[in-house]
């Protein structure tokens, strides 16, 4: 359920993008949609991370982790000021 959803940062191996995709963002979107119809991207990262952040249930996160080209699906971490 939506209440179980948590934010994850999804790290993708850009070099493994299938040739059928012209834009890496389309590939990211397709990967996400394959595990969740409702999930939307919070951010798409292009420089310091290849991937995106999104809200998923733990089951969806696990499914995503098993897809080709997914390097890791890391749960959100809350940092604090020092």
């Amino acid at each position: 359920s939506a209440s179980e959803k948590k934010t994850y940062i999804v790290h993708m191996a850009k070099s493994e993008m299938p040739e059928s995709f012209e834009e890496h963002t389309h590939w990211y979107d397709s990967s996400l949609k394959s595990v969740s119809d409702s999930a939307e991207m919070l951010y798409t990262y292009t420089n310091v991370v290849h991937g995106f952040s999104t809200r998923l249930t733990p089951e969806e996160a696990e499914s995503l982790e098993g897809l080709p080209g997914i390097l890791s699906v890391l749960p959100e971490v809350v940092y604090e000021l020092h």
């Binding site: 940062i9 191996a13 850009k14 919070l42 310091v48 809350v78 000021l81 020092h82």
Partner: protein, 661 residues
């Protein structure tokens, strides 16, 4: 900041090494924090030329923030809240601005410390008065607001780093942290890797979890990890007791002083029905016992300034705040809402003894303003997080320390100096403490070095900062640790306290490329996926190649003998263990011959360096040397320290060495 430029020798500019403002103004410092208060005088752009043409950043429109809030000093202002709002719901705009505007003060403080403009007559209620300036006074500032009332969310943090790199910052300053995890799971480490690869120096705070060991954050070797030390400045506030004894404390209180006459004095634990009444937590003090009295509270659990508010709300006239063992004799000053003084642990114990034995205890507090020239200084702050490095013990962290105690810098106009909701005072500058404050000092100093040496890599800049840092006072005695009152070690201060003027001309540097760091990850046995997560490119470790974390050309050494294995890089021989490091020094100065010298506090480790002399005939020439540590057996948990220095008579290129068994 006031005082720190003088404390760091920037005002003297010996040898004319500090770069001219024109070249510094080409350097852009990105600060990921709580945003900026654009009206701060520290963002005044007078005298600055056009924004660097390569700059791609923007001033994003948001609540109480438009493009006109930016200028030639504050050249970028973005905010990132999608991750925060996805978890905690929409931002309550009555409490915080959904924009880069800083409602907290922390971001204005850190950004102005790094690169704030010169502001004459800065002070907090007259305390720490002087000309305030950032370390790189002419550098440009771009603020990236990633921290909100509910914290700093990694999805926002990564988005901000992503944008800052694209915008074209030269230095990234991050005074935040979040636990300890392997580099491939650490968003700051992952983001910082790409930044480093693009020539951006990333400076991060070491954390405020000291003096416990293994308490560091942000320990990736491509990050500059900054601990905190004190300045030679204090804000004395003396506590006089009815028995005639006086105790020295500190305070930034500004308001109606206490009357000269002695007031009734009570220990909070005896003015409360709560088991932790001594801590002066909200709702725990009994007004009938506190009213009209000075109250002694112990530090812990709640904010220091909040305890003062609790005492005031219960009718107390003043507060003495006593350090506990966790803080020792460290005196962190606060702009309390009532007359208050913070005293060290020893004084606290003595005062409590008086309170518990005298039938009619009385006290008063006298505020003495600002004192400079305090000796010894710097000393390592008790709160500053300490090594060893829990992720990779073979990389010594923190890298260095910088001023982080009682630092005056710019502040937000929407919050009082205590940050308490009930504090209606508004100030242009505030005095606060933390490794958050030391980090932007180093960020600004890195910007200065970048301006002087545009071609230097982030690793070269970091090396310059580290190898020229000092770990002894001018008297020759070692830096002290305020947590213990004894000598500090490289696990507390890394390479030592930053010395920026020397760092501008380090003579030699230990340079490291992105590929060197990838080999380091291979040595950690990272999988291909883990390495790709960090590097964002395919990199295959060579199965036929031998990797070792000791091969990383780091400017410091941490030899962990318990992990020494029989390889060509390290090995065992009978009961002694041998660890070998090969390092490469790059000449960034004039031609010269450098000779090695070693000092060690331990007889248990034999150190040899081969060769013991390195001659450089031209700039950028590289020379290798090998240092071998042969350790006899010691009980597990033993630590010992040494120092290796190369000198040509003019420069000293120093490296701390930590041994652990």
């Amino acid at each position: 900041t006031t005082r720190t430029p003088e404390f760091l020798g920037l005002d003297r500019n010996i040898g004319g090494l500090v770069p001219e403002s024109d070249s510094v103004s080409d350097v852009i410092v990105g600060v990921l924090d709580t945003g900026g208060w654009p009206e701060s005088k520290s963002y005044d752009d007078m005298g600055l030329g056009p924004v660097p043409s390569e700059w791609k950043g923007e001033c994003e429109l948001g609540k109480s923030f438009t493009a006109v809030n930016c200028n030639k000093k504050l050249i970028g202002a973005r905010f990132f809240s999608s991750g925060y709002e996805a978890t905690l719901g929409p931002i309550d705009e009555s409490k915080e601005s959904k924009s880069a505007r800083d409602d907290d003060g922390h971001g204005t403080h850190t950004s102005s410390t790094a690169a704030g403009s010169l502001v004459d007559g800065a002070s907090l209620f007259g305390y720490a008065e002087g000309s305030a300036r950032g370390m790189a006074t002419s550098a440009r500032i771009a603020v990236y607001k990633v921290c909100w009332l509910g914290g700093c969310f990694s999805s926002d943090l990564v988005a901000a780093m992503d944008k800052a790199v694209a915008d074209g910052v030269n230095v990234l300053s991050m005074s935040l942290g979040g636990g300890m995890s392997e580099y491939y799971r650490d968003s700051v480490a992952i983001g910082a890797f790409t930044a480093m690869e693009k020539g951006i120096l990333v400076s991060c705070s070491a954390g405020n979890a000291g003096p416990s060991s293994y308490s560091l954050s942000n320990v990736a070797p491509w990050i500059t990890t900054v601990g905190a030390g004190t300045l030679d400045r204090d804000f004395p506030a003396y506590v006089s007791l009815g028995n005639g004894k006086n105790f020295s404390g500190v305070s930034l209180y500004s308001g109606k002083p206490l009357t000269n006459s002695m007031l009734p004095f009570i220990y909070a634990a005896n003015a409360s029905n709560s088991t932790n009444g001594n801590l002066c937590m909200t709702g725990t003090l009994l007004p009938e016992k506190v009213a009209g009295k000075i109250v002694l509270c112990d530090r812990g659990l709640s904010a220091r300034v909040q305890k003062g508010q609790v005492v005031r709300d219960a009718g107390g006239y003043g507060m003495v705040l006593a350090n506990t063992a966790a803080n020792g004799e460290e005196l962190v000053a606060d702009a309390h809402l009532l007359p208050a003084s913070t005293v060290g642990q020893k004084s606290g114990v003595a005062i409590k003894e008086y309170l518990l034995t005298d039938s009619n205890p009385t006290a008063t507090i006298a505020f003495e303003g600002t004192k400079v020239g305090i000796s010894p200084s710097p000393v390592v702050a008790a709160f500053s997080s300490r090594g060893p490095n829990s992720i990779t013990p073979e990389v010594l962290k923190p890298d260095l320390i910088a001023p982080g105690v009682n630092i005056l810098a710019g502040w937000s106009g929407s919050v009082g100096p205590t940050g308490l909701p009930g504090d209606t005072r508004r100030v242009g500058f505030n005095i606060i403490s933390g490794t958050s404050m030391s980090c932007p000092h180093v960020s600004g100093l890195a910007a200065l070095i970048k301006a002087a040496h545009r071609e230097w890599s982030p690793a070269a800049i970091k090396s310059a900062l580290m190898t020229t840092a000092y770990s002894s006072y001018k008297s020759g005695s070692k830096l002290q640790d305020i947590a213990t009152g004894g000598l500090a070690t490289p696990f507390d201060y890394g390479a030592g306290h930053v010395d920026p003027v020397s760092a501008l001309d380090p003579g030699l540097v230990y340079d490291i490329t992105a590929d060197d760091y990838l080999e380091f990850l291979c040595a950690l046995n990272y999988t291909a996926a883990q390495i790709t997560s960090v590097a964002k490119r395919k990199y295959t470790c060579d199965a036929s190649k031998q990797y070792s974390v000791t091969y990383l050309n780091y400017p410091s050494f941490a030899a962990a003998f318990e992990t020494a294995t029989t390889t060509s890089g390290s090995g065992s021989s009978g009961s002694s263990k041998v660890v070998k490091y090969t390092r490469t020094l790059t000449n960034v100065g004039a031609a010269g011959t450098y000779k090695v010298s070693l000092s060690s506090e331990s007889q248990s480790v034999k150190i040899s360096v081969e060769p013991d002399s390195l001659s450089f005939t031209q700039q950028n020439e590289k020379k290798l040397y090998t240092v071998t540590f042969t350790a006899s057996s010691m009980p597990s948990g033993t630590n010992s320290f040494a120092r290796l220095e190369w000198s040509d008579g003019k420069h000293i290129v120093g490296s701390p060495i930590a041994f652990s068994w």
